[in-house]
């Protein structure tokens, strides 16, 4: 399932996938995979992304 909230949060910060990837220390393809829903990140990476985007885990990764 696509993670549109992550994509929106990244766009709100005016970050490209590559910029966010550099911030959290992963490849661009990994960020792309998370947004597309083809890769399920570890909690460590989720936290790093949340810190980079100033969001909580619930806001970005919790499914209603």
């Amino acid at each position: 399932m696509k993670n549109l909230r992550l994509k929106a949060a990244r766009a709100a910060k005016d970050l490209s996938q590559q910029a966010l990837a550099d911030l959290v220390g992963v490849s661009r393809q990994t960020i792309n995979g998370i947004e597309k829903g083809s890769y399920n990140p570890t909690i460590r990476l989720c936290i790093a992304i949340c810190k980079a985007l100033d969001k909580t885990l619930d806001e970005l990764f919790w499914e209603e």
Binding site: Q18, G25, S27, Q29, N32, E35, Y39
Partner: protein, 170 residues
Amino acid sequence: MNVNLYHALGFAAGIIVTLLVCLLVRCLWLGKLRVRSEYDERQKAAQGVAYRNAFWTVVGYMLLGWLLNLFGVELSASPIFLFAGVVLGILVYVVSCIVLDAYMGLNENPRWWVVVTAVLAAVNLVCALCNIHNGAVWTANLLCGLLLVAVLITFCVRALLRPNREEDEE
């Protein structure tokens, strides 16, 4: 006299090479020349998948050799057949990694890698051509050259098929 001279030169060359190797190992040990690829968590998981693909490919290849042996084909006992199995395993591993975007580390320069691989492929293929000229067709040089060419082609095709780097949807 000449024999003694050559012996002395060989001895000196051995010592020099040993010193160079020791120096290289020392530098590597101290981390001065350390070049370690860094992979993220997705890439490490993808490399596991690639390793599994390569493992089962080699198992299948060995089974094929065993079947050929059962039917009286002595090919499976030749060293080049065994070496081809290793090359096949490496090929499957590398191609799988490239397709899954897990081959190049985060700190690696793809252009440098392409140049080095192309040079190595050329050297191996030239050696293979010399071997073919001397009557030996299937050699380790030929297999390594073909392996490197196949890896290069896969890498280039993958790079061409990949959408724009800043494009979100891949």
